[in-house]
Symmetry: C2
Subunit: 253 residues, 2 copies
DNA sequence: CATTGTGAAGGAGTTCACAGCA
DNA sequence: TGCTGTGAACTCCTTCACAATG
């Protein structure tokens, strides 16, 4: 779901599957918790439970990184933390800019987990001149006019867009032009970017809509189960196409 | 990625693939924009471009809903908006509660796109007694003590968790016990829930870590490309196992 | 002998390419 | 003629089940 376009066939890269990459942060979090409790080793079964995945999947995921476990014993927690951190590129420091310091942008700036793992909020940028200079989460907000300079001066390659939908594409283009190659988009828009730029999106309303779909389905199944229990099987199983009996031919607004 | 566990084999349900469900909101958004510009019909090619997917995929997705297009012409915008809305369950109203009114919770409460499509913030809940009664986004915050009553009085089935990680699992359990069956989790924790409850998670730091992985890979490829360009092919292609030459045998903190 | 690491089977999602239809 | 709808091929991911092994 991440980028859509894969980067390139990659000259015999040790291709870690995208699905695996997406789970590594989950494992890392679980491992970090174990590490803080000074647990020395952990089995695939235990770790899988903590991360909310199945153990075969976890073992296969780890097998892409190398053979870091010990048969009969499990995995060394500290060592795995290090290996996964390195694989994810968290042993280096990633300066990040957040563009759009509204409610959400401010919340992101204040988010603690940010700094914890290799990420550092290098700058906050907003288009509102009234915001300029005002500190948010201890960092002074800078004006959009200086975006390019800020990116370059700080060597930023990861940008977070938390602007209104209307501004997102333009901000995105400026970020990319200034050298950003990874974007985390909170604006409800599809961003188009050149090849080689990664975009991930976080979209509240999409998530809610997906939940609503399942919620509705549950209600439907409940009703169905009830009907079946009552053995009142009178469902006319044969509508031309659309799986659905009473739909207006034209929509009612 | 949503729930992990599928709901049940479903008595001959018209199984819309999960991947398709996850794209329907995207199509809906693009269609809504077209609708607002009074565009009457749209081809799979155009709509796919607007939604950022490929047209074959879009056509296959729509084929799961039914045959709503016209060959040689395209899709009727208004009709599709209605069909997708209905499929997603957006023709009804979904009361939602947000638990945890910190920076993020407040940002979510203020988020406009919320109300736009079938969702209504029925209540805001926080554990801090000092917050009680204080209005956020025009809605008075209520105390966690009343959580169960609030859920039941409002017939809430979708809950949003925006608490700190430590509180999330407990809040989740109370929500579920009170009747919530869909949860959108912003806390950086794995929630465990009984069967039949859907959880979707939104996790900033996971997204950033995934971006960092790709970012690091880009840097590596760049270096590789450079090396190749200089034709200095002196890569010793044979390290026992771990795809990596200089790793400390034990991690350095 | 408990637990990893992994071939092989199975399933889900994507893309191709073209038949079918307005 | 132009565009949809879809079987079939393909790629990616997950799960099974067991041989390998510290």
């Amino acid at each position: 779901m991440a980028t859509g376009r894969t980067h390139r066939p990659a000259t015999r890269s040790r291709g870690i599957p995208e699905a695996t990459v997406a789970r590594l942060p989950l494992y890392l979090r679980a491992l970090t918790a174990l590490s803080e409790r000074s647990v020395p080793t952990v089995s695939s079964e235990e770790l899988a439970a903590a991360a909310g995945v199945n153990s075969a999947k976890l073992r296969k995921d780890f097998s892409y990184l190398g053979s870091y476990g010990t048969r009969g014993v499990g995995y060394d927690v500290e060592y795995l933390v290090y290996q996964i951190s390195r694989e994810l590129g968290l042993t280096q420091d990633w300066p990040v800019v957040i563009v759009g310091i509204g409610n959400l942008g401010a919340a992101l700036a204040n988010y603690g987990g940010f700094a914890s793992r290799g990420f550092r909020v290098a700058a906050l940028i907003d288009a509102d001149p009234a915001m300029a200079g005002k500190p948010v989460a201890g960092i002074p907000v800078q004006h959009t006019d200086d975006l390019e300079k800020i990116i370059k001066d700080n060597g930023v390659s990861i940008g977070v867009i938390a602007t209104p939908a209307g501004a997102a594409q333009q901000v995105c283009e400026r970020l990319v032009a200034a050298g950003v190659t990874s974007i985390l988009n909170f604006a409800p828009t599809v961003l188009s970017v050149p090849d080689g730029v990664d975009v991930r999106k976080v979209d509240l309303s999409i998530e809610l809509q997906i939940l609503a779909f399942h919620e509705q389905r549950k209600a439907g199944e409940e009703a169905l189960a009830l009907a079946e229990a009552e053995a009142v099987v009178e469902v006319s199983e044969e509508s031309g196409k659309g799986p659905d009996g009473d739909v207006p031919a034209v929509m009612p607004a």
